[in-house]
């Protein structure tokens, strides 16, 4: 059937610059560029281009420009190009439109409507280059009260503390499974987390055995509805266990790793046959209620000898705050909430773009809810979904998060350009693919160094901003909405965020 959809991108090749090296041809797994020996020219098929920019960036002569296709349908505010083309695609295929990465729709990004405070006169700002500036954070349940024993003027703690994760900066790598991403990308995250003193989340695809000894103590291992790759050793080698209930990109639905991506090592790690689809059901089939969740939390705690904090990850949806409070009562030590703009390796586009609520609002309402219930100490909050820079991190903390998960930002650091074709398995950057030829493009040393650089840079920026506010320990900013002001927000939005308007 002839497709009525325009190509999304237009490839412009500067023939004067092109040296016919055929690099672009080799770089593109989608087969966009082909060499025509007769004319000694490279021909590009716009229809195949996904806009990942691999060829443009790797062209040794900068001869390629990939830009949005300027062709247009008659402009129509209601029928945007995307809406029109989605209709055409579905008319042509009869299928659900798949996509990858986070929601790209212009929902209000509250981060960009909040401004931070700084000290002037009455409270000296603190220079992080001269004074200590502490970002160390503990994730897990804390007791309300502590018992102390005083013996011979020496004070001892009598209270037994729950296990906590210590992070040197409030940034943890979000759940991205081996299977969805390549082994090298997975290993790069693990390597960077161990170098940085933070954690990476394995996602639901298990943790390869050979990585357990070295990287287990920096891993948060996930237990999701597919239960892939879970055994006692998997749970016990990790720093923490996370039960994945929901994901911001696709709340309420499950996951599907196509059989083509289930290679030998993915199959060994997930404990499923090679080449079979790995299907995560929408719900956990042993969790149909909060008491079921409580049983799973405690089963995991039993299995890990109460030595590891247990996190529960949920998508931020309409009544999630009350649900999260219930999850704390059910025994979770950490609540991870994933907002509207959380990423994914594959999701139906209609779900990704229409379900869930923005993370900024979610953090604030969850923090407030837990405080009102008097259980804020009993868990930590990790906020995920749409965190793009250090300012987003610090604003999340001021709204009440203990730490943040970053997924897309980490992938971008490794080379991703958010082309949203993760589900095809043809990632030219070697990140979201199991094709050994493509995956081999990602150099673990370089990728992990880029991750370390990114988080180090963000940490410095967070320290600068904190010092500017006259604060020298991150815990003094947690839930401290006094340091935020809203710009261009409606009253109800300020109410939910719990912040004043700028100048108020």
């Amino acid at each position: 059937m002839k497709s009525f959809v325009f190509p999304q991108f237009q490839i412009i090749r500067d023939e004067a610059k092109c040296g016919q090296c055929r690099g672009c041809e080799r770089q593109c797994a989608f087969g966009t560029h082909t060499y025509d020996p007769v004319s000694d020219r490279l021909i590009s098929d716009d229809n195949k281009c996904v806009g990942c920019q691999r060829c443009a960036i790797f062209c040794p002569r900068d001869a390629i420009v990939v830009r949005p296709n300027p062709s247009f349908y008659r402009p129509n505010a209601s029928w945007s190009r995307e809406k029109l083309e989605d209709v055409k695609k579905q008319a042509e295929t009869g299928g659900v439109i798949l996509t990858g990465c986070g929601n790209d729709k212009p929902f209000r990004i509250y981060w960009d409507h909040m401004v931070l405070n700084a000290s002037q006169v009455t409270n000296p700002s603190i220079d992080p280059l001269r004074e200590p500036m502490e970002l160390r954070t503990f994730l897990g349940a804390k007791p309300d009260l502590m018992d102390f024993k005083v013996k011979n003027e020496e004070v001892e703690i009598a209270t037994q503390l729950s296990p906590n994760l210590m992070v040197e900066m409030p940034i943890v790598f979000s759940a991205m499974s081996f299977g969805a991403i390549s082994y090298n990308a997975f290993l790069s995250l693990a390597t960077a987390a161990s170098k940085l003193g933070t954690y990476f989340n394995t996602g639901e695809g298990g943790l390869p055995r050979e990585m357990r000894e070295k990287f287990g103590k920096h891993a948060i291992v996930q237990v999701a509805s597919g239960r892939f790759g879970i055994d006692a050793e998997y749970l016990n080698c990790a720093a923490a266990v996370e039960i994945k209930v929901g994901q911001g990109a696709k709340p309420g639905i499950g996951g599907h790793l196509p059989g083509e991506k289930v290679s030998v090592s993915v199959s060994a790690t997930r404990m499923i046959p090679v080449g079979t689809d790995a299907i995560s059901p929408a719900p956990h089939h042993d969790i149909y209620s909060i008491e079921d969740l409580s049983m799973l939390i405690h089963a995991i705690k039993e299995a890990t000898n109460y030595e590891k904090p247990v996190s529960v990850k949920i998508a931020a949806v309409h009544n999630f705050a009350a649900i999260a409070a219930g999850i704390v009562h059910a025994g979770a030590d950490i609540i991870a909430i994933d907002g509207l703009r959380g990423g994914t390796g594959a999701a139906p586009k209609v779900i990704r773009d229409n379900v869930g609520i923005p993370i900024e609002l979610a953090i604030s309402s969850l923090d407030r809810r837990l405080r009102q219930d008097g259980i804020r100490n009993r868990c930590s909050i990790i906020a995920a979904g749409g965190i793009r820079c250090s300012a987003d991190v610090i604003k999340a903390i001021a709204l009440g998060a203990d730490a943040t998960y970053i997924g897309s930002a980490a992938l971008i650091a490794m080379g991703c350009n958010l082309c949203q074709k993760c589900y095809t398995g043809k990632c030219n950057w070697g990140i979201c693919t199991q094709d050994p030829r493509l995956a081999g493009r990602l150099n673990v040393d370089i990728a992990s160094q880029r991750l370390v650089n990114l988080i180090s840079a963000w940490s410095h920026e967070i320290q600068e901003m904190l010092g500017g506010m006259g604060i020298n320990a991150l815990e003094s900013l947690r839930g401290n909405r006094d340091h935020l002001r809203g710009v261009g927000l409606y009253e109800w939005e300020l109410d939910v965020l719990g912040i004043k308007g700028a100048g108020e």
Binding site: G470, L477, R481, D495
Partner: protein
């Protein structure tokens, strides 16, 4: 469902002078010297707040809680009706053994003094409240009154101690209440205030107190929002529009309710930095790590110097990087804490020792004997 209102609060920002004096033998003295000392730091205030806390001033009522009440209102009539309303509530919950207007000079330059009254009371616990300790019962009464009653504020609620405060320079407040004539205490703290905003109300002056714990504070707490939500979880209503309040409530929570020794409390409010903790021996490392994990929300960040008064002791503390220093001194049985050494020298030119404590190191002075 009603929508959550924004958590709007006004944090007052101010710089200040603080002073404390104590006789370790428990001998009582009037406020003349303390007023002179705090007046010497006149330029550190701007006349928008001054106050004193005095320990051991009500020996005849030592077993009764002394409530100092402020009835605000535009007219005397509205102040009197606020008082009547409060007394109705008070009489349900307490036996009042004595009450009177707090004596003051009739002639005054001070602006809009509210009606200030004191009550000596004994708890009358009934029903569900019967199981509460007396102190807890009083704290709940204070929180209820200050967060719900209009125009009635309990600004002092300890036994055998009292706060006196208002809008004016501290020496003016001292004269207004005739502290140099009517009261003798074994320990005094004093405060002169320099708020940067102009809204001045008598309740906003220091000291802030709850039960017998009083706090005078110089500085600005940049962790206020965090401290506040943590304390609100434990039932402390932050109503007085100032950051100092949170220190008083933190002190109450940690010292009275959780019975944590003061040395440890100091390490909660102004903890050692992680670099220092990481090099401690295992035992200390565990202690300080745990303290920061659990009580991180009570870390007082930003510059501060505070004097905490309690029955039988004065405690001086600065923030952990000492952005607001404090000076301590002793002379015989006298112990002093001050924003400036000159004020101590003014009333006690000869001193046995004078020192500036390190950031986060508490200076604690206790009575030699508790029988005062």
């Amino acid at each position: 469902m009603p929508r959550n209102r924004r958590e709007l609060y006004n944090k007052e920002i101010c710089a200040c002078s603080i002073f404390g004096a104590m006789n370790k033998d428990g001998e009582r003295f009037n406020a003349a010297g303390v007023m002179k000392a705090i007046a010497n730091m006149h330029v550190r205030g701007n006349g928008l707040g001054g106050g004193f806390a005095a320990y051991g001033i009500y020996p005849q009522y030592r077993d009764y809680y002394a409530f100092h009440l402020m009835f605000n209102g535009k007219t005397l009539q509205s102040q009197i009706s606020a008082k009547a309303e409060f007394e109705q509530y008070l009489n349900q919950r307490f036996d009042v053994v004595h009450d009177e207007e707090i004596p003051h000079r009739p002639q005054t330059q001070l602006r809009d003094p509210p009606l200030i009254w004191r009550y000596f009371v004994s708890p009358k616990k009934m029903g569900e409240d019967a199981s509460l300790s007396d102190d807890e019962y009083v704290v709940r009464t204070v929180m209820q009154t200050n967060s719900r009653a209009e125009d009635a504020y309990i600004f002092s609620s300890g036994m055998n101690m009292g706060c006196f405060k208002g809008v004016g320079y501290p020496e003016e407040i001292g004269e207004y209440f005739m502290l140099d004539q009517l009261y003798s205490a074994y320990a005094w703290t004093a405060h002169g205030r320099f708020p940067t905003n102009t809204q001045a109300w008598w309740g906003g002056a220091h000291p802030f107190s709850l039960l017998d714990t009083s706090v005078v504070h110089n500085g600005e707490i940049s962790s206020y929002g965090t401290n506040r939500w943590y304390l609100e979880m434990y039932g402390y209503a932050c109503t007085l529009q100032t950051d100092t309040e949170v220190i008083a409530y933190a002190a109450d929570l940690l010292l009275r309710r959780q019975r944590i020794p003061m040395e440890i409390v100091a390490k909660i409010l102004a903890p050692p930095i992680w670099n220092a903790i990481d090099t401690m021996n295992e035992k200390e490392k565990k202690l300080f790590t745990t303290l920061r994990m659990v009580y991180g929300p009570l870390l007082m960040n930003g510059p501060f110097a505070i004097i905490i008064g309690q029955t039988g002791r004065l405690i001086g503390l600065t923030d952990r990087i000492r952005l607001r220093p404090i000076t301590a001194a002793t002379r015989g049985e006298m112990f002093y804490l001050s924003s400036e050494e000159a004020s101590i020298r003014l009333i006690s030119p000869e001193l046995d020792s004078v020192w500036t404590p390190s950031g986060g190191e508490p200076v604690i002075c206790e009575l030699n004997s508790r029988r005062v």
